[in-house]
Amino acid sequence: MKKRFARIMALSMAAVMTASLAACGGGGGDSSGDGDGGSGSDSDGKKEITYWNIGVESPDKDVITKAVEKFNSETESGYTVTSVPTQNDTYKEKLVVAMSSGECPDMYSCWSGGPMYEYIDSGFGQPIDDLFNASDIKDKLMGSAVGQASYNGHIYAVPYQNVSMSGIFYNKEMFEKFKLKEPETLADLEAICDTLKKNDITPFALANSSKWTGSMYYMNLAARYGGLEPFQKAVAGEGKFTDECFIKAGEKIQEWVEAGYFPDGVNSLSEDDGQAKQLMYQETAGMLLCGSWYTGTFATDSAEFYEKIGWFPFPAIEECDVDPSIMIGTVGDQFIVFNCEGEKLKAAFECAEAHLSDEVIDFEVENGKIPPIVGIEDKLTDSVTKEVVEAANNASEIQLWYDQYLPPAVATAHLDGLQEVFGLTKTPQEAQEAMQKAMDDYLANKAE
């Protein structure tokens, strides 16, 4: 009997532990107040501004430190900014927990798009139109960058870090060897893929267990088939994600999977473990479609290999009458959002301005970044990054990554469905219907 009681105890303990594990995720009341959290939005006389960001590693860390130090040493506002960097992967969760427990930092860096809109809707982002219009960064910043920092007609954030466009990196030596040149149209691109395939080289290096990596191909295909209008309409609830251009993009991807344009086991390769770039380094893959932050990755990993790299934007599709200058990407990458008011907001904004001061910008450029500044191309020396900026400047429109731009629930549906499209376990139609359903649910909830 005693034994039995002990067992019941053991079991109930185990059950209770389970639920508390769940509760950490669910209730999540008190897990962030561990000292390094925000100091709360009430100023307690100390005049301190807490600034959360993801600058844990160089060069991001150095850039932020430089900007914050500049502000702290030069400001006349009486405030000091304390930077609290957090590792990228846990940052979003940490921010959510902080906000839900009333410990939201006074200013924080984020990626714009759906989550930022969520923060703003929940009251953790203040409009900065007046400050912005009075500031000299108004003329400094690229228009498209300001566009991505705006929501419902107001400016909410200061973009500062990097212009990142999706485009195709390729191995120049390999292209020379097989007498290939940069493609003008999708048919050219497919011809290149076939040539590479014939020579036992995987055309595209892609690691899709991370899911957003495959979305790069999809977004570009959809934008070339139908432009951005179908997407914008679907987001506004006036159109559907089952529009022809989305289906065609999915079908093209499946066609490419079947033709062997992607590595074997594409859905199990992990981008975070660098399994896509490894294929490029081993020279078993010829091209890689991803954000242009890859220039920095290549250059840091091996300057020698970077010499071999060329870049071109996603080619046009000949039978489609769509503006091929449209780009998919982020103009700013990191956006500083403000959760304070009055004098404090002014000071925090001043600190954000410091991120765009000439000396910090020069420092960013030295470290391979492309700050979203008008005329930045003149400061760049690297030919690949120059091409990226030109493409961004010439773009009639720049769409932020779907998974970042869409409401989070819709983004998840998109990524999950698309991965199955890559795995040939779902048809594009099924995947798009699931995405549309998530969008419908979201709009219905919002309307309530």
Binding site: L11, A15, T18, A23, S209
Partner: protein, 300 residues
């Protein structure tokens, strides 16, 4: 004389209670703050439509629970958990028992095996996840390379929705079998040596000793091991999160990963809490039923 004795005993009892309360207080407070309060709060949160950050929570009563019951994704996740549970029990416990028996019969000579077999349990789940992601990678991973030697193509176990779950289960078993090995080794030491000697003197072979004597004596340990394994599999999270993130598609989605996604990735804290509450109820139910069945047999 008598009167003083009684009052002394009473005094003693009172002291014991006081001391007991004093010693239990820290644990009780910790449990209340970190376990009971979050559980209650989870259930309360599950009645709201809430994105997890906004001050505005909308009370929607049992709507989240209605959605949960009709949510096929949740039930697919539960089914995946169930598959993990059944296979974990069927694989880990017999192998763990076999290894423990082998070590028990072998004595000190086999200490080296004991140490080697114990290693997987010492590694963190995240490290194991990375280890196997690399070993199973189609890009020069161990399995694909060996398959290449024999003229086969790349083997994509994690990227294929049909094999992904089974592959992850194999890794989970690799990780946790040593735990049951140690568990049964401890159970073996609980069987007095006299029992073994008596059986040998009566002419039992080692096989007979194991099946007829040791095995029945180990049954209670096996039952608790099964329950531990069951609860562990139903709340499984970390390895899946590292290795597949629930993918490809949703083929390895578990209740816990689904809860995490709902709460943090899609800003649906209210619904995430309902998922957590659902998990709590389901796990408690499955555990209680199993307990009932196991104990019923014992008493019969």
């Amino acid at each position: 004389m008598n009167g003083t004795e009684i009052s002394l005993e009473k005094l003693r009892q009172r002291d014991t209670r006081r001391v007991a309360a004093l010693f239990l207080a820290p644990v009780a407070i910790l449990m209340a703050v970190y376990i009971i309060y979050p559980i209650v709060d989870t259930f309360i949160t599950s009645t709201y439509q809430w994105n997890g950050i906004s001050a505005a929570k909308k009370f929607i009563g049992v709507n989240n629970w209605k959605t949960l019951i009709a949510d096929s994704s949740f039930w697919i996740a539960f089914r995946n958990n169930f598959v993990i549970m059944v296979l974990s029990i069927c694989i880990q416990i017999p192998i763990g028992l076999a290894l423990a028996t082998f070590l028990d019969f072998g004595g000190k000579r086999l200490t080296v095996f004991k140490v080697i077999w114990f290693i997987p349990l010492l590694m963190s789940s995240v490290a194991i996840g990375f280890l196997f992601t690399y070993a199973l990678a189609t890009n020069g991973g161990l399995v694909s390379t060996i398959s290449g030697w024999f003229g086969g193509g790349n083997v994509d176990l994690l990227g294929n929705p049909k094999t992904a779950l089974l592959t992850v289960i194999a890794v989970i078993c690799w990780q946790f079998t040593p735990f049951y090995m140690v568990y049964f080794m401890a159970a073996f030491t609980n069987i007095p040596y006299d029992v073994f000697e008596a059986a040998r003197i009566d002419g039992a072979t080692r096989g007979q000793y194991f099946w007829k004597i040791a095995f029945p004596l180990l049954v209670p340990s096996m039952k608790s091991a099964a329950i531990l394994s069951m609860v562990g599999s139903l709340k499984y999270f970390d390895l899946i999160y590292v290795m597949t993130g629930g993918g490809p598609g949703t083929s390895t989605e578990l209740m816990a990963t689904y809860m995490y996604k709902q709460s943090f990735s899609t800003f649906n804290m209210g619904y995430g809490s309902a998922v957590a509450g659902g998990m709590f109820i389901l796990i408690s139910m499955v555990s209680l039923i199993t307990m009932k069945i196991l104990n019923g047999k014992e008493e019969a």
